[in-house]
């Protein structure tokens, strides 16, 4: 932690540390730290461990089984979690759907879905992006025609992360095509086992099928699966985007990655000495470390500030700088790996020397997905320039 903690926060941190020490499989943690492959089954198993501890949903209210920690505790948890190299939670259900259900879902929807998210009984994927829409999310074209008690869904989603493992999707669909494009969008939950759905993995530049195309051909979805009112899906989805998100800056992960970078650089020699002792290299590492300190302090200031008192573009800044820092670190790791790091580890096999390049290539996504960094800079500028 950048700043000293109060005694009770320190005790909390120690409790988190102890839990991770006891329950997190060291070989899994080693793989996470070294950018190895983690299977879907391992992830679910780990999430269930968190669930049994009552820590799967740090931000959720207690009435829905969350830990309801204040922001600083969530931050401390996050830091310890990533320092221990616990696998990242697949958070679409917990962080994106959960809050929408709590605020806009019906009682029946909440009682059915929220406990299942908490227990990782469902694997949710997010059906927002479409081919041709890009950053202009609202121009989506997948249609849902109302046919009595069900919708008939036709169209295509893309960039759907890990849809190949998902049994459920929350999805934006067009229920009306006239008027403003943001209107006429509805928010719908889809069982991935419904006939007419085709999932086709997209191989990315690191060779991994991390995202998917999902096709809908006359897919029948009960009207009961719609969240809130027809035509208000855009509002529901947007509800989240402005929210403060503790983890978006990726501070905990970046710290671990810098540690790992230094460990790697200490084991490689240049000019007859460990690369880490090379002044020019060390000075480039120092730049990133300082950048990360500044971002962490910014994040902490935002957590401490009364809601709404910030400049208004915090989340965009945390996203932009957080992703740039992670990309920068992965580039330094690639540099340390040298030409040996160019090896492609066979698909599905354990990662060996190819981890650095696979990671570097994969992280190109950070500045593109989740609202490209260009879009984030547009947002920041708009807020600064104002009306």
């Amino acid at each position: 932690m950048l700043l000293e903690l109060a005694p009770d926060d320190r005790a909390f941190r120690d409790e988190v540390r102890a839990f991770l020490r006891e329950r997190l499989d060291p070989s899994l943690a080693k793989r996470v730290r070294e950018h190895g492959r983690v299977s879907a089954a391992e992830l679910v198993q780990w999430q269930k461990t968190l669930y049994r501890q009552g820590w799967f949903a740090p931000a959720w209210p207690t009435e829905w089984g969350g830990a309801a920690w204040p922001a600083l505790r969530q931050y401390i948890f996050d830091e310890e979690y990533h320092a221990a190299a616990a696998p990242p939670v697949i958070a679409f259900g917990r962080d994106l759907l959960g809050p929408v259900l709590m605020k806009f879902g019906s009682d029946a929807q909440r009682q059915h879905y929220l406990p299942r998210i908490l227990a990782s009984d469902d694997w949710w994927c997010q059906g927002y992006s479409e081919p041709g829409a890009g950053s202009d999310l609202a121009s989506l074209r997948t249609t849902a025609e109302l046919r009595g008690d069900h919708y008939l869904i036709n169209g295509q989603k893309t960039w759907t992360t890990l849809a190949q493992h998902a049994n459920m999707m929350f999805c934006l669909v067009r229920t009306r095509s006239d008027g403003k494009k943001q209107e006429g969008i509805s928010f719908i939950l889809i069982d991935m086992a419904t006939p007419g759905i085709t999932v086709r993995p997209i191989t990315l530049l690191d060779g991994e099928p991390e995202v998917n195309e999902v096709w809908f051909e006359d897919v029948v979805v009960p009207v009961a699966n719609r969240i809130g009112d027809e035509g208000r899906g855009w509002t529901y989805a947007k509800h989240l985007l402005g929210h403060e998100r503790t983890g978006i800056a990726g501070i905990g992960i970046a710290k671990r990655e810098i540690d790992y970078l230094k460990e790697l650089a200490a084991s490689v020699r240049r000019h007859g000495r460990p690369l880490l002792e090379d002044r020019e290299f060390r000075s480039r590492v120092a730049r990133v470390e300082i950048e990360l300190m500044a971002l962490e302090m910014t994040n902490l200031r935002l957590l401490a500030a009364p809601p709404g008192s910030g400049p208004g573009w915090e989340v965009s800044m945390l996203k932009v700088r957080g992703t740039e820092i992670l990309q920068e670190i992965s580039e330094l790791q690639l540099e340390v790996a040298g030409c040996s790091g160019l090896e492609v580890d066979a698909p599905g096999a354990a990662r060996t020397r190819g981890a650095a390049s696979a990671r570097y290539l994969n992280l190109r996504k950070l500045s593109i997905f989740g609202g490209s960094n260009e879009i984030q800079r547009n947002i920041i500028a708009q807020q600064i320039v104002g009306g």
Binding site: A294, R301, Q382
Partner: protein
């Protein structure tokens, strides 16, 4: 964690804001610059009356006890208002040395300082020590009556316009241990000083000072002989923290002025603020300002509270990051203003010059990056 201003801090900040608004328009500042000293002693008195000079000092030393957060708030205001009075030189450096090194003998001097009736400057850096403020070669030879000082100090901030100088020196002959420093109070008007004052690009004053056997009484010694190094390091750390806060204030002003200019300035039939390349530049400026502000906070929280190693590490991280921000924000503010930003008539170029000076004062980006890396495992 004290990440949000408390009531006292908020009050101090508001006091400083009102002061700048009332007394420190760009035109009023210009009038001060052409005074013989390059600043205004009456304004200094006003700052004393507002409590700004005593704010950071501990209560037991006659201060208001606002500590490093007080220094941050006042320095940030100095940056916003481009204040030319010697807050850094007299209060942060001079007052800090008096607070940390002096015995009760020097308490009256501290009182005169907080009243605004005695201006101090710290004569420390030397031609050869400039880049890393180490390796002091000025010597103090013990004499029957006290000490005789010999050596050269350069780029002493406000050195020609202060009342008293605090001079760092090693006690002993040429073979004296340069890590064991002592501090001496010297009257700036002492005719034995060879003093060349000059103006710096930011409108402030500096001086090169030669001591060629300048004699001072034994009472001029501040603290224990040979024990001043930790105090000096601590005070220089505070000064760098203050510079970080001052730079944040100046950058915030530049950002606001740039945004306002681009909103009104029309080119090719629309306001410049509509051009996406310039929008992204503003976004980058804003992020730099915010990240620099965070570092200024961080260093203010830690400059007095952690051990020397941790302190130097965080100070260097903060100063390096602030230098990067100051350089980017300053250059972009000029660039986005175009020709008008290049003129002496607009305040933008004055903010830019002060930021440029800050990046060169008490260690630059390269120096602090290096020191941070050396202190980081």
């Amino acid at each position: 964690m004290e990440l949000v201003f408390n009531a006292e801090a908020t009050m101090l900040r508001d006091t400083m804001s009102r002061f700048i608004e009332r007394e420190y328009s760009f035109q009023a500042r210009k009038r001060r610059l052409v005074l013989p000293d390059g600043f205004c002693r009456d304004t200094w008195k006003s700052l004393a009356e507002l409590g700004a000079l005593a704010a950071a000092l501990p209560v037991e030393a006659g201060g208001l006890g606002a500590g490093a957060m007080g220094t941050l708030i006042i320095s940030e205001a100095c940056g916003r208002g481009l204040i030319v009075e010697p807050y850094l030189a007299t209060v942060v450096l001079g007052g800090g040395l008096l607070e940390l090194a002096a015995t009760s003998v020097h308490r009256p001097l501290l009182e005169r300082l907080t009243e605004g009736s005695c201006l101090l400057a710290f004569a420390h850096s030397e031609p050869e020590s400039e880049s890393d403020f180490g390796g002091i070669t000025t010597r103090a030879m013990e004499t029957r009556a006290g000490f005789s000082l010999s050596g050269r100090k350069n780029a002493v901030i406000h050195g020609a316009t202060a009342d008293m100088l605090i001079v760092s020196a090693c006690v002993g002959g040429a073979a004296a241990d340069s890590t064991r420093l002592s501090l001496f109070l010297v009257d700036r008007r002492d005719s034995a000083l060879q003093l060349r004052g000059y103006r710096t690009i930011d409108g402030l004053q500096a001086a090169d000072i030669a001591f060629d056997g300048v004699t001072v009484p034994r009472a001029a010694l501040l603290g224990e002989p040979g024990e001043a190094r930790p105090v000096i390091d601590h005070v220089l750390a505070r000064a760098n923290a203050a510079l970080c806060a001052e730079a944040t204030g100046a950058m915030q002003s530049l950002l606001e002025r740039t945004v306002a200019y681009l909103r009104t300035r029309q080119q090719f039939g629309q306001p410049l603020a509509r051009f996406q390349a310039l929008q992204h530049r503003m976004a980058d400026m804003a992020m730099h300002v915010e990240l620099a502000r965070s570092m200024a906070y961080l260093v203010a929280l830690q400059v007095d509270g952690v051990d020397a190693t941790a302190r130097e590490r965080v100070v260097s991280a903060a100063k390096a990051r602030v230098c990067i921000a100051a350089s980017f924000v300053g250059k972009q503010a000029i660039q986005l203003h175009g020709g008008i930003g290049m003129t002496d008539a607009l305040d933008v170029s004055h903010y830019f010059r002060r930021l440029t000076a800050i990046t060169r004062t008490l260690g630059d980006e390269a120096f602090h990056l290096d020191r941070f890396a050396a202190a980081t495992p």
